[in-house]
């Protein structure tokens, strides 16, 4: 009895740390196979941006209306893809005069160009849970390459969350109004909630 008990506790003592040690590795190994599939970008996502201004501070805000889908390829991340559309009319900065300026033909010209779209062309895995997404961004009728960095935050069976960051040169889309007082670089900081379906 005592021998058996000692044996069990010794095995448990050895096994528990071992489990802790391999659990993250297992999770990583599982990730791709686990999460593969098609997702729709959920409205709970946040599309935040910052444009810095000379002397410190800047304009920050987010877009309230957007939609998109992405497909994560089983086994080969580089064959995944994403398509994203946002509606500049829904820009939000907490200051209506700035929002009207952004919607006007000085910036987005939301009346004539109601959407801004992004279509991935190539996705490169950069570590166990990060990837670079290259694609074509179209705004105000102009298309130009843009690149974003994505990192996996969490996931479960039906949902997945990425943090996505990227810098966009607005002059490439005919939106250079206000430079150099306001930076030419728009820094995107997004939380993308994907829902299977």
């Amino acid at each position: 009895m005592t021998i058996a008990r000692t044996c069990v506790s010794a095995i448990l003592k050895a096994a528990i740390p071992l489990l802790f040690a391999i659990a993250p590795a297992l999770a990583n190994a599982d990730t791709l196979a686990d999460v593969a599939g098609r997702y729709r970008i959920d409205a709970s996502s946040r599309i935040g941006f910052v444009v810095e201004q000379i002397g410190g501070g800047g304009i920050s805000g987010d877009f309230k209306k957007f939609s998109g889908v992405f497909a994560l390829n089983n086994g080969d991340i580089s064959r995944s893809s994403i398509e994203f559309t946002l509606f500049p009319e829904s820009v939000n900065t907490g200051q209506s005069r700035i929002e009207n300026f952004l919607r006007s033909d000085a910036v987005f010209d939301a009346q004539n160009f109601p959407t801004v779209t992004f279509k991935s062309t190539h996705i490169t895995q950069t570590s166990a849970n990060t990837a670079t997404i290259d694609g074509i961004l179209t705004a105000r009728g102009k298309s130009s390459p843009a690149s974003f960095q994505a990192s996996l935050a969490t996931h479960d069976r039906n949902a997945i969350v990425f943090h996505v960051e990227g810098k966009v040169m607005r002059s490439r889309y005919g939106m250079d109004v206000g430079t150099p007082i306001y930076s030419n670089v728009v820094q995107f900081n997004m939380t993308i909630h994907g829902q299977r379906g």
Partner: protein, 204 residues
């Protein structure tokens, strides 16, 4: 030459007067037009030009005042009544004040606006905001003050310009000429005017 003397204005005073006069009148026109355009992108850059030029006026006016303090003032030509003298003093005093107060109230507009748009004079120098309350009401108050003072000074400047023209074309004295750089006009007018001498010659 550079400095004023008892009879005439030196080059520095003259340059200050005309450079500031041109920018000042340009600022009133620019200010009037820029708040009335519906083109947002154009409006943004016109506002930045307006702010830059306004600060240039403030800087030049500071230097001008210092220069004025260390220079003699040419005496007024003869034959100017006490009322005219007082009116000229009042107008010049008002215009000097305007050259400082209008840019300062403009600076207050930019500083109190919730938009907090930086001032980057001529895309060269960042000018910090004045430490004022930031709100829509504060901005509206300073905008009103700035606009009223600007248009009031436009009226005074018009009177000032008409007075200068009156001196030149009506009274035919040296007031305008010496602000244009004429040196020590001879005391008796008709002989000092080459055109008239020429006329006389052809007539005789």
């Amino acid at each position: 030459m550079l400095r004023n003397d008892a009879e005439s204005y030196g080059v520095v005073t003259i340059l200050f007067h005309w450079i500031i006069a041109v920018i000042f009148l340009g600022q009133i026109l620019l200010g009037y037009l820029m708040v009335r355009t519906g083109n947002y992108a154009l409006q943004f850059s016109l506002f930045q030009w307006h702010k830059s030029l306004g600060f240039l006026i403030l800087l030049l006016s500071g230097l001008r005042l210092l220069w004025r303090m260390v220079n003699p003032r040419p005496r007024m030509p003869d034959g100017i009544s006490r009322i005219e003298r007082a009116a000229a003093h009042a107008a010049h005093g008002f215009l000097y004040l305007a050259l400082f107060v209008i840019p300062l109230t403009g600076w207050a507009v930019a500083s109190s606006s919730p938009l907090q748009i930086p001032t980057y004079a001529f895309n060269l120098v960042v000018i910090p905001p004045l430490p004022l309350a930031i709100s829509d009401q504060a901005e509206a108050f300073w905008t009103m003050s700035h606009a009223w003072l600007a248009y009031l000074s436009a009226i005074v400047a018009t009177a000032h310009i008409l007075a200068a023209l009156h001196h030149h074309f009506w009274k035919r004295d040296a007031v305008l000429l010496r602000m244009l750089g004429a040196r020590r006009p001879a005391p008796v007018r008709p002989h000092a005017d080459p055109l008239r001498i020429a006329n006389k010659d052809t007539r005789s």
